[in-house]
């Protein structure tokens, strides 16, 4: 072994470790590999970048554009729907038709794209036929993966295997060279799923169990959970909440409830907006922690003792207010209150901001400050006086809350109040932050008065105790609101039939993150889901489990399924978002339906020219892609959007590692190693070894990467043993694509995970026998089409 061998092996090992640990994204790992190879000088700079001009890479992105054109014009979904229509209602028949359709489509489009297109169609069939979605979705993913094996352009490993042959001076594979093996494997796969796999598939259907729509198939306990969390809340006559909008009433925020609908004078209104105005005797259908509302109304919460002026005078000795006018050079300019962290750093509270003569009282935290703004600050005198010294921050002017000018300018309604926490209050034992006094009732705690001590400007982790007196600044109005919330009447144990969540205006819908989403690792709050889409998330289905509470803080993962509720209009808005895939057939929007024949013709043309040998595949695919754009089947921006850059960069950056393995002789070293290990046992054992190695690697690494790395090894082995490189490359391509064993093996698998309610083990149970089946067929049938000895 030379130093170069060691270096290449080290980079290879490093890459595999990074791929296995999944700490970094695969394309970033590939970029690191590229940088490593270039810096160590294992490849020349030109070779390092050569991946981007590789014909295989160009073909990969051109095929993405072609697929995009077919999706955008609806060709794919038209075919999908037509075929599915004739599928009947029988489970076996359905399974076969779904798998076959997915397979044929994915022979010419990318696999995930096909799975994503057919997912809503299959869900729809599951609803109509009452077959659990879990019986049909994994077959869909498996079908898409198998179908990819049928043509050269079906999946990147095939393109890369063909290109590797060309790079070594052999004839590359033709478009339909993959067809015999691909077809046999697809048929075998379908038979396996129907005969054996069907029995191994779980019976689950997240949406039906979550929403309680299914008749018969639902489990009562699971349904119960949703019922547990539903309640009808009645606004009593004469309530202060009548006349207020839903947002002003703070019902949702204060109590962490989602208001799903409204019953008024016998009429149901299932679309409510934050500005819907409440009336007496409105009945609100609320979902969430009903317990919290019950706590609030059943037990004493907070008792306001004195609202007289004496408190104010008493307190103003300790706590004062002051105005801070932002000067032109103030470091606060362009910063928000939350960035400055006024509460933590300066121990002060911002009551209001005066800008251009207008006071602002709401959403202060996120407002960037400007020159000339005046902040009304509240806090202890020593805290306020800090700005006397920090003159450059602004001009300070002391005042007090009873100052007429202040009250007028800021339209202040805040008063200082003293409240005490009675025994048994739900607030006992909570700290100030958890008490949500500020968030929900707009009360700012200025001091906690205990017999033993008085804590001024208490920090947010101060624990409240029974009998504490709190000096709060707040709007008396808000306190009355609190009382009104306590008077709400709660009805539980609802009759689900009466509730009728589904109506013409509103409904439940399921959505998954689309394969190209950029929302992974963010939470719903960060993406402003509620504000942006106007839909309520009722549950998230992940890894076979439903999550119902604290959904806003959950970090999103690809494969999550969401149960959403909201108006039909908003649902259709969501389905036009690229980050989400709404699993409802009627919501699938076809952008350019009139161009469908053109798109189909272009695709046929591409295949035709390649079949006739007129053009190399890369050029033909690129001509097709350009024609798609020129004929308006999709715009150039759409085309870029359809390209999965992650895949393109992944492949382009890993190709140099293949070059390095070859040039440094590392590939032949590894090939020798493999021959030594299994070579004595005959060619079949060699094939099996190659297949198993590739297959194992493809569980931990993306399929194209495995192909890139295994290609030099396979071709060297072929050279050593006098075997046909075509046969061995075919084995590598098939094994690399046969990633059925885990959800993470292929994005198509992850896509169906949420909607199917699958667990990790479901993939293993189906995947291992299926992979073994593919291995056996490959070992015994492949040599018939691709003789081992040339």
């Amino acid at each position: 072994m030379t130093t170069e061998n060691v270096l290449v092996l080290a980079i290879l090992a490093g890459a595999i470790i990074l791929f296995v640990t999944e700490r970094l994204r695969v394309d970033l790992i590939a970029l690191l590999v590229l940088s490593g190879l270039a810096l160590t000088g294992l490849v020349t700079p030109a070779e390092a970048l050569s991946g981007f001009s590789n014909a295989a890479v160009v073909t990969v992105w051109a095929v993405f554009i072609l697929s995009g054109g077919l999706s955008q014009t609806g060709v794919a979904s038209i075919i999908g729907r037509q075929v599915m229509r004739i599928a009947g209602r029988n489970e076996v028949q359905l399974m076969a038709v779904i798998m076959l359709t997915a397979a044929i489509m994915s022979a010419f489009m990318n696999n995930v794209g096909v799975a994503a297109l057919l997912l809503p169609v299959v869900i729809n069939i599951a609803r109509q036929t009452r077959i659990p979605a879990s019986k049909l979705l994994l077959p869909l993913a498996v079908g898409a993966l198998l179908g990819g094996m049928m043509t050269l352009i079906g999946t990147p490993p095939n393109i890369l295997a063909s290109d590797a042959l060309r790079a070594y001076g052999f004839e590359p594979f033709q478009l339909f060279d993959f067809l015999p093996m691909g077809l046999i494997l697809t048929v075998a796969g379908i038979l396996f799923m129907i005969l054996i796999g069907r029995r191994l598939l779980p019976t689950r259907d997240p949406v039906q169990t979550l929403s309680g729509q299914a008749n018969g198939t639902m489990e009562p306990t699971e349904l119960y959970e949703l019922e547990e969390r539903l309640a009808l809340i009645t606004v009593p006559s004469g309530s202060r909440l009548a006349g207020k909008s839903l947002a002003e009433s703070r019902i949702g925020r204060a109590l962490d409830l989602t208001i799903l609908g409204l019953q008024r004078e016998g009429r149901k209104q299932m679309t409510v907006r934050p500005d819907t105005v409440l009336q007496d005797n409105d009945r609100l259908l609320a979902l969430g922690m009903i317990q919290r509302l019950e706590d609030l109304s059943s037990r004493p919460y907070l008792v306001v003792e004195d609202t007289g002026d004496t408190v104010e005078q008493l307190a103003s000795r300790e706590v004062g207010v002051a105005e801070l006018k932002i000067t032109p050079d103030s470091p606060f300019i362009n910063k928000t209150i939350s960035q400055i962290d006024v509460r933590q750093i300066y121990n002060l509270t911002v009551l209001a901001i005066l800008r251009d003569g207008q006071p602002r009282r709401t959403n202060l935290q996120d407002m960037p400050l400007q020159e000339g703004d005046t902040l009304l600050l509240q806090g202890t005198q020593p805290s306020l006086s800090i700005f006397d010294e920090l003159e450059q921050f602004g001009e300070l002017r002391y005042s007090n809350l009873s100052d007429r000018r202040i009250i007028r300018n800021y339209r202040l309604e805040e008063r200082l109040l003293i409240a005490h926490i009675p025994d048994g209050s739900p607030l006992v034992g909570k700290n100030l932050l958890d008490s949500r006094l500020t968030d929900t009732f707009g009360l700012v705690a200025l001091a906690i008065i205990r017999p033993s001590s008085t804590e001024l400007m208490p920090s947010s982790d101060t624990q409240l105790q029974s009998g504490d007196k709190i000096l709060v600044a707040g709007n008396p109005e808000d306190l009355l609101n609190l009382r009104a919330l306590q008077q709400l009447k709660i009805e539980r144990q609802l009759d689900m039939k009466q509730v009728e969540l589904e109506s013409a205006e509103a409904g439940l819908v399921e959505a998954v993150l689309s394969p190209r989403t950029s929302l992974v690792n963010k939470n719903l709050r960060q993406i402003h889901f509620r504000e942006k889409f106007g839909l309520s998330v009722l549950a998230i289905w992940r890894n076979g489990r439903a999550y119902r509470s604290n959904l806003n803080q959950m970090t999103l993962q690809f494969g999550d399924a969401f149960l959403l509720y909201g108006s039909r209009e908003k649902i259709s808005l969501l389905s036009s978002e690229t980050d989400f895939l709404v699993l409802q057939e009627e919501e699938q929007i076809v952008a350019q339906p009139r161009k469908a024949p053109i798109a189909a013709l272009i695709m046929v043309g591409v295949i035709g020219t390649v079949l006739l040998g007129w053009l190399p595949i890369a050029i033909a695919a690129l001509v097709g892609a350009a024609l798609m754009v020129l004929t308006g089947c999709l715009s150039m921006e759409d085309a870029y959007h359809y390209i999965d850059w992650r895949a393109v960069f992944l492949i382009a950056c890993m190709l140099p590692l293949g070059i390095a393995m070859e040039q440094t002789g590392t590939a032949s070293l590894l090939a020798e190693g493999m021959v030594n290990l299994v070579g004595d046992l005959g060619e079949t054992a060699l094939l099996a070894g190659l297949f198993i190695l590739t297959s194992v690697l493809s569980q931990v690494m993306p399929n194209p990467v495995v192909t890139v790395l295994m290609a030099p090894i396979a071709i060297n082995t072929a050279g050593d043993q006098g075997l046909s490189p075509y046969a061995l490359m075919m084995v590598v391509a098939i094994a690399a694509s046969a990633s059925f064993m885990s959800p993470v093996g292929h994005p198509a698998n992850v896509l169906v995970m949420g909607p199917g309610g699958y667990r990790f083990s479901d993939y293993i149970r189906i995947g291992i026998p299926l992979t073994i089946l593919v291995l056996i067929i490959t070992l015994f049938v492949l040599p018939i089409f691709w003789p081992l000895f040339p």
Partner: protein, 597 residues
Amino acid sequence: MDSITVDIALTLAIMLIAVILFASEKLRVDIIALMVLLAVGLIGLIPPEAVFAGFASPAVVTVWAVYIVSAGLFKTGVADILGEQITRLSGKGEARLIVVIMLVCGLMSAFMNNIGATAVLLPAVVGISKKANVPLSRLLIPLSFASLMGGNMTLIGTPPNILATNILFARDLPSFSFFDFTPTGIIIFATGIIYMATVGRRLLPNRESSEEQMVAQQQREYVSEFRILPENPIAGQSLLESRLGADFDLSVVAILRDGEVRTALHRETRIQANDLLIVEGSAENLIHARRELGFVLESEHALDVEELDPESVHVVEATLSPRSSMVDRTLRDIRFRDRFGFTAMAIWRHGEIISKRLRDVELEYGDSLLLRGPRDRLPALQEAQDFLVLEPVIMEMRRRDKTLLAVGIMALVLLLATFFNVIISMAMVIGAVLMVLTGCLTMDEAYKSIEWRSVFLIGGMLTLGIAMETTGTAQFLADGLVETLGRFGPMVILAGIYIMAALITEPMSNAAATVLMVPIAIDVALGLGANPQTFALATVIGASTSFLTPVGHQANVLVFGPGGYRFFDYTRVGAPLNLALFAVTMIVLPIIWPLFP
């Protein structure tokens, strides 16, 4: 002069068609470049394995890596901090303001892409204009011109520099290092600033900004649509009885009834339930009437209850961002109001204000929109890739804790490229990887930051560049140039090359012009026995002078709307600048890069 071969003729034909397509602007530049690539490949002017070589050229890789590194600097707030310096340094005078803006923008665009620098500074300059009471039209052309000239100062400042370096390198000729562009770049930039602060300033127009124009329009007239519900008091009344004109100073322009538009209205015309009234009047009166009479607003510029609350309502101007997918789409198509909560009140386009049927207007790059909506939804609008909101960005969206890290990475890249001899493409890729690895930006943001239009444009056109060399077309054209201009001496030829590049860059993009002109310039230099670097540099400087029209460079289009400019404003300010830069380049260039080594 060599005789013309078939291959040369074919290459020339492709070049000609490409130039015509670029000039006609019917197709996007990137699709033209793809077609050029395919034409070269299908005709077989170059070997098949070289057809896609453009995509792996160090130039293309450098271009996308620069986009990622730039994005890292933007996302961590480095650009905002520089933008804040404008406010800090600018005094009261207009000339000083112009100088400061140009200095900051130029410096920024030396290390980031030009359009990015312009876009990030645009909101800051809008703010300054209001504060200093200087019309926007006097600040924005300096801004965009500075970004173009600032790009001349370093290798990565602008794609033409990257391309020229790469083309020289590929031909095994002495090439440029990172700061080789700096001496000429600084002189050009200084010339530009001095010109703008003295002569150019007097040529800059005094226009109302598009926002002012649109707001003024709003006060004058405002068209709205009211749906008359059966319970409405004026249902059944005549126009006269409704007192819409008398009490509310509104005029009913048309009535939509049963899908029919009635415009022949008179005072006796009866208003019926379910009519749609098209009403014109000031915004105030419309709101007033709506409150009093309980109309239901139907139009895109419907005003919601919450919008009447001055605390939450916000009026803001936005333009389409450089890579907006909104181009050729309507607000209705993307359900703008549903999605962002903002309603469009007016659209400014080429000096005209559109205020009617906004939902159905197909948007164009360069449009300005006056929007109104709830303040708390502004962040979502600012985050949206399709629009550039002309208001300082709320800094929370920046990763301020990574600012120093991002600057450090940029410095490391420069260090690698200048002192450790790492070729610039690899240095930039390493910088990009580090930006993502350290969390300055995510991989998704990295892909989004890459302007694929430029990448594909350059990748495609480079194929033509290769064809020009392999078929001898570049040589052929160079010979022709030397033959016609040769007797006037090398300086005249240098001037000729510069002028050709400057002319060809106006209809084409800078990068495309560079790809076509640099091979010719190199062959000319070699033919004369002169220094190819001098000629290449003259070409890229010429190709970077897109000052004559708003469409010459995307940075120019970006400020077109907000500045309220007209087409020829650019020509008036840009033409003298072009001449000044030409003169300065011709004097300085041969001193710094001698013609004959």
